[in-house]
């Protein structure tokens, strides 16, 4: 069917691809902590030791948890299993709201308290016109 050279080139390509896929997989596995953009409150709770490095916590803003004092915003990030209290001073993005996704960047004071230096709003995959949202109701 195919010549010997064609088969050899195909084998060569397959071997290269397999080895590179394997190495990429191993690299991504070992760098998992760096590939992940943020950690959930549950993952923070199960940290063995707290280090001083900057990290990101992500989850939902707990309903009725936002309180704004003079120049400070306090709220709770939850993943519906564990929670973490966050304090932040500065402007929050427009989409920052209760019951919506958020990623906070900053430093961990202890396992329950996070001092944020930057707040990012996480958008979910739902796109719909306002009328439809009203019809569905606020779930």
């Amino acid at each position: 069917m195919y010549g010997k050279k064609v088969k050899l080139r195909f084998l060569f390509l397959t071997l290269i691809l397999l080895s590179v896929i394997l190495s990429v997989f191993l690299i991504l596995q070992s760098l998992k902590d760096n590939v992940v953009y943020f950690q959930s409150p549950s993952e923070i709770k199960s940290l063995i030791e707290l280090n001083k490095k900057k990290l990101r916590v992500g989850g939902m803003v707990k309903k009725q948890s936002i309180s704004i004092n003079s120049d400070e915003v306090n709220f709770v990030i939850t993943d519906f299993k564990n929670e973490i209290n966050v304090t932040y001073s500065g402007a929050v993005p427009n989409l920052f709201a209760e019951g919506k996704g958020v990623v906070a960047e900053g430093f961990l004071k202890d396992r329950n308290y996070f001092l944020a230096t930057k707040i990012l709003a996480k958008h979910d995959e739902n796109y719909m016109p306002p009328e439809v949202k009203e019809a569905i109701g606020d779930k």
Binding site: S40, H123, M128
Partner: protein
């Protein structure tokens, strides 16, 4: 089977087709932009910023699609030594690169008002940047290597190895926590995007695909003229 690709026949098509494709592209783009910018509703949460999506998402899809075809064509040209495949791949690459850059730039413009940042080193965005680098390498390799045989070998390798990145981009939002939202369009289950927004998205994708086809035909035509000028009647 590949010897039935007759350059003369292909040339007859590529030299005439662009003007029809251009005509079709302008019509579809006009309909698409009207749908996306005027007729489609605003989003309940991000209001008018959602309109960036109608450029961002099709551009990202097309750039991924083109890179996948580059890889497949490169396997064909590397294994079967068919030069036509590498000419097709070479002509496809520029529009894929342009759409990749458009996806990155529009994503950045969207990210500022919604997320609150221009750039985030999350898995989806970083892997998309790596794709742009692979596109850059691919295009540069064609220019750097004067020797045709060598250029074909090196560009095929770049395209094939870069293709490993494609599934990583696709599944990055499922495998890791990312700032980028997961996909809204599912073939197997329900879409989490409303039909009134899906229609302009579809039309814009068609328009961008036509644009890629247009650029491809023009580039490919030039490549065939180069082949003809060398006095070769086959590739």
């Amino acid at each position: 089977m590949f010897k039935y690709f007759k350059p003369n026949k292909i040339f007859a098509i590529t030299s005439r087709a662009p003007k029809y494709v251009l005509f079709l592209f302008i019509i579809v783009l006009t309909i698409g932009l009207t749908e996306a910018l005027i007729l489609s509703p605003e989003d309940y949460k991000q209001s008018d910023a959602v309109r960036i999506m109608y450029v961002h998402v099709p551009a990202a899809w097309i750039s991924l699609g083109i890179f996948s075809s580059l890889a497949l064509l490169s396997v064909g040209s590397f294994v079967f030594k068919n030069k036509n495949f590498s000419l097709i791949a070479k002509s496809l690459a520029p529009s894929g690169f342009i759409f990749n850059v458009i996806a990155l730039v529009t994503g950045s413009i969207w990210g500022k008002p919604t997320w609150g940042t221009w750039w985030a080193w999350d898995a989806r965005i970083t892997s998309m940047l790596i794709l742009a680098l692979f596109y850059g390498m691919y295009l540069l390799a064609w220019r750097i290597y004067q020797d045709k045989e060598q250029a074909i070998k090196i560009t095929s390798m770049i395209a094939i190895l870069g293709a490993i990145n494609v599934p990583i981009i696709k599944f990055s939002v499922d495998w890791w926590n990312t700032l980028h939202q997961p996909q809204s369009i599912n073939i197997l289950s329900n879409n989490s995007i409303h039909a009134s927004m899906l229609i302009p998205l579809g039309i814009m994708t068609a328009a961008f695909a036509l644009f890629s086809l247009l650029i491809f035909l023009m580039k490919y035509n030039t490549e065939l003229i180069k082949v003809k000028n060398k006095g070769l009647d086959r590739l």
